[in-house]
């Protein structure tokens, strides 16, 4: 029972990280109709910028907090310099241009921070365990990720559902032309949304960094999963991204924690170990295919 709870928490922690990444992606895709492959680069930049700032300030929390406005500015700059020219183009042009951005950012990191990758250490006050239930220890840092992720998810839900900006975002997601016609400053809205997406990506990147190290291309692998999440959840829907990220997080953990032992009952240990992660990855795509058949616009997507 405790074991099940621990593994579920691991799934939640993973899901929340992916949600932060997917939230920005679903906003830019849903509202701005922009396919941004370089979203993973913002995740990476967040981790590198945080690494530098943590080094300067000598405090994990302070450095991480400072990294957020810096990546917001970076997001705004990227939007102003590159993305703005792409809105009117078709998706293929956007894919090409943002793929170019991935290469640009990877090279930029190589020039500034070198090829070797960096490691971020967990702050001392989190380098221990907390008892989530009496006698059930859980790593404090992972617990902190869950708390931060949950708070950010709630903030975002409040922002989207209760504020004027959120109203515009929702309106933009359902009909972009109409809100432009109503006189909303759509350029400013797009810039804000893109900057916000960058901040969420950076937050995910810097929180994942102590677990998986800071390296070139760290956002590229996770970006594919983030795309799957927004397709499952419905493009443009924050709620959808959240639910889909939670499901995908649990599937990943099940694939690592329970599937190998299950497979070992009728396969050799090494075959089972190889097959389990592959099957859990396939499961995610099967889920996506199933959702697309059942609801072509995703779980919480706009019906057209």
């Amino acid at each position: 029972m405790d074991y099940l709870l621990l593994q579920m928490l691991n799934g939640v922690q993973l899901g929340l990280l992916m949600f932060l990444l997917a939230a920005g992606l679903t906003l830019t895709f849903g509202i701005m109709d922009l396919v941004n492959l370089a979203h993973g680069s913002l995740y990476m930049m967040g981790a590198y910028i945080a690494w530098t700032l943590i080094g300067w300030t000598d405090s994990f929390v302070l450095g991480a907090l400072l990294a957020l406005p810096v990546t917001f500015l970076l997001g705004v700059a990227v939007e102003a310099v590159v993305m703005r020219r792409l809105y009117a183009r078709d998706h293929l042009d956007q894919v090409l241009a943002t793929f170019g951005l991935i290469l640009f950012f990877n090279e930029l990191v190589r020039v500034i921070w070198g090829p070797a990758g960096k490691s971020l250490t967990v702050p001392a006050f989190l380098n221990r365990t907390v008892e989530i239930l009496p006698g059930v220890p859980y790593p404090a840092y992972r617990f902190a990720i869950i708390v931060v992720g949950a708070v950010v998810a709630l903030l975002l839900a409040w922002l989207v559902a209760r504020t004027r900006l959120g109203m515009l975002i929702r309106a933009g997601a359902s009909n972009r032309r109409m809100i432009a016609a109503l006189g909303v400053n759509i350029e400013l809205l797009f810039t804000l949304v893109f900057g916000l997406g960058a901040v969420f990506a950076a937050l995910a990147g810097l929180m994942a960094a102590p677990l998986t190290s800071v390296k070139i291309g760290m956002g590229d692998d996770i970006l594919i999963v983030a795309f799957v999440i927004i397709v499952i959840g419905g493009i443009g829907s924050i709620k959808g991204a959240f639910v889909a990220a939670m499901i995908v997080g649990q599937i990943d953990i099940v694939g690592r924690a329970f599937l190998p032992d299950f497979l070992k009952t009728f396969m050799t240990a090494s075959a089972a170990s190889s097959a389990a992660p592959a099957i859990s990855q396939v499961l995610v795509y099967l889920l996506m295919a199933g959702v697309l058949i059942w609801r072509p616009t995703g779980l919480f997507g706009q019906r057209t």
């Binding site: 922690q13 967990v122 790593p139 677990l211 924690a257």
Partner: protein, 393 residues
């Protein structure tokens, strides 16, 4: 008339005379394939530093000829490693190719170098079971070990210590499979669980650590080289397991990873064929010079690379720099007649070393720097378990 006759002959004679010293002076070329970018670049850097140190100790010459090292970055990817090996053999026409941290990179590159290129390959680290057994090759030599052996040493030691049960973890690739097979050859206690994790992309071990906590083994055995070892140890400590379940490792806590692992590693045990405190003259000089230059301890990756260069030098020395007859070169290499940093070894029929393995503990040295120190000899004159499958006798 006379001049017409003499002309070509003189030219030929002069050209021939000119050729000899030119031959002796043309540099011996050694290709070195390793990882110089990405999160595992620290390993490649340690190897490069050791190769440069070997070059310095040799005065830049082998058998009277200068030599040059051409470094190539495999980017931690088998396909890139193969391309780079191909480039070294076909374009640079190197005399030897060495390096190779990763078993999957080595397996991808082997045939390109040894068969298609008929060039001698000396692995300075990777030792996949296939090459020790059925794929063994007259052009392949190792200055490291076969993958099973280091974990066999660890397993032997734990068996002797009376450890009752283990949980095994390794990356899911050629070396990871060999490592787990190795520890199970000598450790006869209960295996409470065994996971091969996705390699190299999985760096988050939350699910595995929760499984270990639930399985309650007497110890954890891991194989997570370089950056992965750093992540595993941190997460193992964060999960609060260090006080309850001891960690035993191969290739996961060493001079590469300790600068990042720091005190978290204190007291953990590992196995290796070379340790920085092995008491022979050449090793003392190597470790002291390396520390003086770089301010850190060298690792076994570096020591094995240093040995690879010294092995080549020993053959070049005996043949006075003439490497044209490959049979002679191979015969000289096979003698392993050089001062290895591990104090000397002999070659088995499959051209893998017959050597000792030691157990070491992570400690702080007199200056407060993290390092490892030998505490026991686990295996003496050990042969790998695959050599009988090798057709070479």
């Amino acid at each position: 008339m006379m001049s017409k006759l003499f002309g070509p002959a003189t030219i030929a004679a002069l050209a021939f005379a000119g050729l000899q010293p030119a031959m002796a002076q043309s540099p011996i070329k050694i290709g070195f394939v390793s990882t110089f970018s990405g999160p595992q670049a620290a390993i490649g850097e340690d190897m490069r530093r050791s190769v440069e140190l070997a070059k310095e100790h040799l005065g830049g010459k082998m058998g009277g000829r200068p030599f040059e090292i051409i470094y190539e970055d495999d980017q931690f990817k088998p396909d890139v490693g193969k391309q780079k090996s191909e480039k070294l053999v076909q374009q640079d026409k190197v005399n030897f190719v060495t390096g190779y941290i990763w078993s999957n990179v080595l397996l991808a590159s082997l045939k390109t170098v040894t068969d298609e290129g008929d060039t001698i390959l000396i692995s300075a680290n990777a030792g996949p079971s296939q090459i020790a057994g059925e794929l063994c090759n007259k052009n392949f030599f190792s200055t490291s070990w076969q993958n099973d052996q280091t974990p066999m040493a660890m397993g032997q030691y734990l068996q002797g210590k009376g450890v009752k049960s283990l949980y095994l973890l390794a990356g899911n690739y050629a070396a990871g499979k060999d490592m787990l097979a190795g520890v199970k050859r000598t450790f006869k206690g209960e295996i409470k669980g065994e996971d091969l994790t996705k390699w190299p992309d999985q760096l988050d071990f939350s699910a595995e650590l929760a499984k270990i906590a639930a399985a309650k083994p007497d110890g954890i055995f891991i194989f997570y080289p370089g950056a992965h070892g750093v992540q595993f140890l941190t997460q193992y400590v964060q999960a609060g397991l260090k006080n309850t379940i001891p960690l035993y490792q191969v290739f996961s806590i060493d001079a590469i990873t300790l600068p990042q692992q720091k005190e978290l590693a204190l007291g953990t045990l590992g196995a290796q064929e070379w340790v920085n405190d092995l008491p022979n003259e050449q090793n003392k000089r190597y470790v002291a010079d390396f520390k003086k230059k770089h301010g850190t301890y060298p690792s076994y990756y570096g020591a094995q690379s240093y040995d690879a260069i010294m092995l080549i030098a020993s053959a070049a020395e005996k043949l006075k720099g003439d490497l044209t007859n490959k049979d002679k070169v191979r015969a000289e290499l096979k003698k392993a007649d050089f001062k290895s940093l591990r104090g000397g070894f002999k070659y088995n029929t499959n051209q893998f070393p017959i050597q000792n393995f030691y157990i070491q503990e992570a400690v702080k040295d007199a200056d407060g720097m993290m390092t490892v120190k030998t505490i026991a000899t686990a295996l003496t004159d050990a042969k790998d378990p695959y050599y009988e499958k090798c057709p070479m006798k």
